[in-house]
Symmetry: C2
Subunit: 268 residues, 2 copies
């Protein structure tokens, strides 16, 4: 056992076992024990077998109930005895899921550190070529059984300010359920029919992104009525509802996302 | 020469040569030519010599004028002949600097791809334990010779909506100049004296972060009057001005950023 007693949260980055940073892999190789959760986000091409080969050790994959219902006791008990890593998809604290675990560790006197990874939050915005500082609040579109007015209201608020909205689409990776761009658009169109504020119509420009960080992401910009039936392929998927567009953003959407050429002329 | 003609933008992630993903290093190893820029962001512990050892090849480090004034011709000409990578600090398209280069490549029929990296945008928010979806628009605080009302106005707008503001602090890595948390706070206090909207006072809670992604980041939350003189150490640095705080966010700020205990009781 290493004499260090600590819990290191390591980001797995995007898509597959090669999304992790060199530092993250090194910390995993050096750890006394390595845990992983694969339910807060989906890494579609991830191979546990291959990753264990790279890490040179067995990885203990924890379920949602291991981590949440037991307050992460398994991990905390291990971290009180040695050097432990918890591997998390993306950048470890973009989802708020593990903040409680980190607080509990610090309360117990366990040192915590973070090795960051690439996150869909910055990747989705980057791959479509929109400007990061022109985004307002981010929102998650829930599954339709939990349908809520929040996404519509956040888009409305951001548009009033001329800002873009990044809409994450809900997923339960452990149940193999994910919301598609198509379903996200349908939900927003239904909300428009109910609220009638003119925020999200069939003529609204939207951008859909699937499998960001893979070698074949699908990136497509078009009007909602076109994209509601567009085939984005497998998960994970995200949706962007643009606000006011700078002319460079219009060029980017046309070049990188196949947006309609007639968008030229609506930019500022 | 590889028969592929493409330009791959590869994120270097944070802090040092081990911030890159395994995929990013692999693409660099396989490239016919590898370029790098280190001026859009600062990787304080980056060793080019060590990175070239990992990549197994010489890396051509380009200056701002190579890339911007010549419209990236060096890179585009290389990518018309083979498989080229451009290594960029962080996640390659969080800064908008290289969007024009990617558009130009696509215009010339050069295929482009992105290998994402960890970005300060998600890392700074994660390391302090605040909730990503409670942030409004991000803003950059410029050097004082370019002082502008924009940061103050963005913070005001976000606070009206109860939202946190991530303030990036300007830097010119190629001139070894960077704005500190201390200077950012001073600028905002001066703007308050001018505008008097009660947005940013000596009693305003702020969070400063330095060297995110390193093994010894400085993370400190306190009132502006306290942090204006706090020693954050070396760059890069960022500033967060919180809006309304959830009680879990308060706990996180106390545990991870040494915020005053009396914050308990102001959360929602």
């Amino acid at each position: 056992m290493n004499e260090l007693k600590q819990l290191i949260f390591v980001g797995l980055g995007l898509n597959d076992e090669k999304g992790i940073s060199l530092r993250g892999l090194e910390e995993t190789q050096n750890a006394d024990m390595a845990f992983m959760e694969l339910y807060t986000n989906l890494l579609p091409d991830f191979s546990l077998h291959h990753f264990e080969g790279l890490a040179g050790k067995k990885i203990d994959v924890l379920s949602r109930s291991n981590l949440e219902e037991e307050n992460g006791k398994t991990i905390l008990n291990a971290a009180e005895k040695g050097n432990v890593v918890l591997l998390v998809p993306g950048d470890p604290f973009v989802a708020t899921t593990h903040v409680a675990l980190r607080i509990e560790a610090e309360k117990r006197g366990i040192k915590t550190r973070i090795v960051h990874g690439a996150s869909a939050i910055s990747a989705v915005i980057g791959v479509v070529g929109l400007h990061n500082y022109k985004f307002g609040k981010t929102v998650t579109v829930p599954f339709s059984e939990n349908s809520s007015e929040t996404p519509y209201n956040v888009i409305a608020q951001n548009r009033t300010l001329g800002l873009h909205t990044l809409c994450l689409l809900d997923l339960k990776a452990d149940e193999d359920r994910f919301l598609s761009v198509n379903e996200g658009i349908e939900q927003l169109l239904r909300m428009e029919e109910k609220k009638r504020k003119g925020i999200f119509n069939p003529e609204t420009l939207v951008v859909g992104v699937a499998r960001v960080g893979s070698v074949n992401p699908t990136v497509k910009a078009d009007y909602a009525e076109k994209l509601r039936g567009y085939d984005f392929g497998g998960p994970p998927q995200s949706l962007i509802v643009p606000g006011e567009l700078h002319f460079m953003e219009v060029e980017a959407l046309i070049r990188f996302a196949g947006a309609p050429e007639k968008l030229r002329g609506v930019s500022r």
